[in-house]
């Protein structure tokens, strides 16, 4: 199975109306080349799941400026005023989720869980519309799983089977999203041959990865 594809072929898997997860935290650890290709392609009406909307001129924020999302599920939009503007003018639906709950919702999607109970958000606007449970006298919110049609992630070293090593703080949401989408596309900083990664140091097993782009440096 050859998983290595061109960036042009990779983006054919993202079509109008799909739900897309994008790794990264303020752009650190985001698949920037894939994002640029999607801006170029102009695919639209997407639902975005991402930690934040980065900056107007960087990361997934470029796609916000290009008005490619109909809905955004995220923990933070403060660094991208365009997201706030689209939200306030009701051009884009923005669903704000506490960062830890967002991580668990994505993980639950990947792990086949029906949901998780978290104390985060109890007594705040976050609890609106969510089931509450009291266990041992403590109140929890039921947070439901998130899945996507496609996850776009970034890896530091990727072997041709799709095994991934992340570097530093670029890891963030990437390993979680790799488990929670029907199609997983990893943008590799560096592609290496099978056998070059120690099985102990692999952070995302290649079984999760469908396509690999880049890494030809």
């Amino acid at each position: 199975m050859n998983k290595i594809v061109s960036i042009e072929e990779a983006v054919t898997h993202i079509r109008d109306g799909m739900t897309v997860m994008v790794g990264g935290f303020l752009g650190c650890g985001s698949p920037h080349k894939l994002i640029d290709a999607l801006v170029e392609k102009g695919v639209k009406d997407l639902t975005l799941i991402c930690n934040d909307t980065a900056f107007p001129d960087a990361g997934v924020g470029k796609m916000v400026v290009n008005k490619q999302f109909k809905k955004i599920i995220t923990s933070h939009i403060g660094t991208n005023p365009e997201t706030g503007r689209q939200m306030n003018e009701k051009e884009t639906e923005v669903n704000l989720v506490p960062q830890g709950s967002l991580a668990e919702k994505i993980r639950a999607g990947g792990a086949g869980l029906g949901g998780i109970l978290t104390p985060t958000g109890v007594g705040t606007e976050v609890e609106e519309g969510k089931e509450k449970m009291v266990l041992d006298g403590k109140t929890y919110l039921l947070e439901l799983p998130l899945k996507a049609d496609v996850a776009l992630i970034f890896g530091h070293k990727v072997d041709t089977k799709g095994n991934i090593l992340y570097q530093g703080a670029e890891r963030n949401f990437n390993p979680l999203m790799a488990t929670a989408a029907d199609i997983v596309i990893v943008e590799a900083e560096q592609t290496v041959a099978v056998g070059e990664l120690d099985p102990n140091e692999v952070m995302t097993p290649g079984i999760f990865v469908n396509y690999i782009v880049g890494g030809d440096k």
């Binding site: 660094t79 007594g123 705040t124 992340y166």
Partner: protein, 219 residues
């Protein structure tokens, strides 16, 4: 005190709250300054919610690495003995009670320990980021902020803005003093020598209980 002195006073005082081995998360902005005043005699481990422990000082010019940034996106360093992890582990640490203290700014705090710092309806909605998890999960929640905003009190009887969390704040540290949230209300424990108790009461909407052993602010 000018603006800068105010920040230094607050950051210095916050830095006294920690002991050897504590795991601490410092929020963006003023709380980040606390790192500059930590005693070299103790090992305080800073957690960065974007995915590591062992957060070190800002990266020197020319030494920035795109893959080592803090939760505000600034290039930083990681100390020897630190560790990187994914966001699920980061919030296992935070939500699971493995952070000894979190230091955050606030738009409003009230005498029940409620906190508002993520949304001004109709004006500014940055989102909560990791703040809701930090405030619920950390063993100790320290609000570090200027006592007032353009002269208006930020320490209230009851928060009017959307809450970040209910009854989670333990301590408020401002340039005027140190206040503890107790079941009886807000207790003023330390006061900055430049201010009187009446100054503080005038700058605070919440009721202030003065500790019997009120001390000068330890800086």
């Amino acid at each position: 005190m000018d603006k800068n002195e105010v920040k230094i006073v607050i950051a210095k005082r916050v830095s006294k709250e920690f002991k050897d081995g504590d795991v601490v998360n410092l929020g963006i902005g003023l709380p980040t300054m606390v790192a500059n005043y930590l005693s070299p005699d103790i090992d305080v481990i800073l957690q960065s919610e974007n995915g590591f422990v062992g957060l070190g000082p800002a990266a020197e010019a020319g030494q920035e690495k795109k893959y080592i940034v803090n939760a505000g996106g600034q290039p930083v360093t990681i100390k020897s003995g630190g560790a990187f992890f994914d966001s699920a582990m980061s919030f296992t640490i935070i939500r699971g009670g493995h952070v000894d203290a979190t230091v955050l700014g606030a738009l409003q705090v009230d005498q029940e320990g409620n906190l508002a710092n993520w949304k001004i309806p109709g004006k500014m909605v940055p989102g909560m980021g990791g703040a809701m998890d930090l405030v619920v999960g950390a063993k100790k929640v320290i609000v570090a902020m200027e006592h007032t905003a353009k002269g208006a009190p930020k320490i209230l009887k009851k928060c009017s803005l959307p809450l970040t969390a209910v009854q989670q704040v333990d301590l408020i540290i401002t340039e005027m003093g140190v206040m503890e949230i107790t079941p009886q209300g807000i207790v003023l424990k330390e006061i900055h020598p430049e201010f009187t108790v009446d100054d503080i009461k005038a700058a605070t909407e919440a009721d202030i209980i003065v500790a019997e052993d009120l001390k000068p602010m330890e800086i």
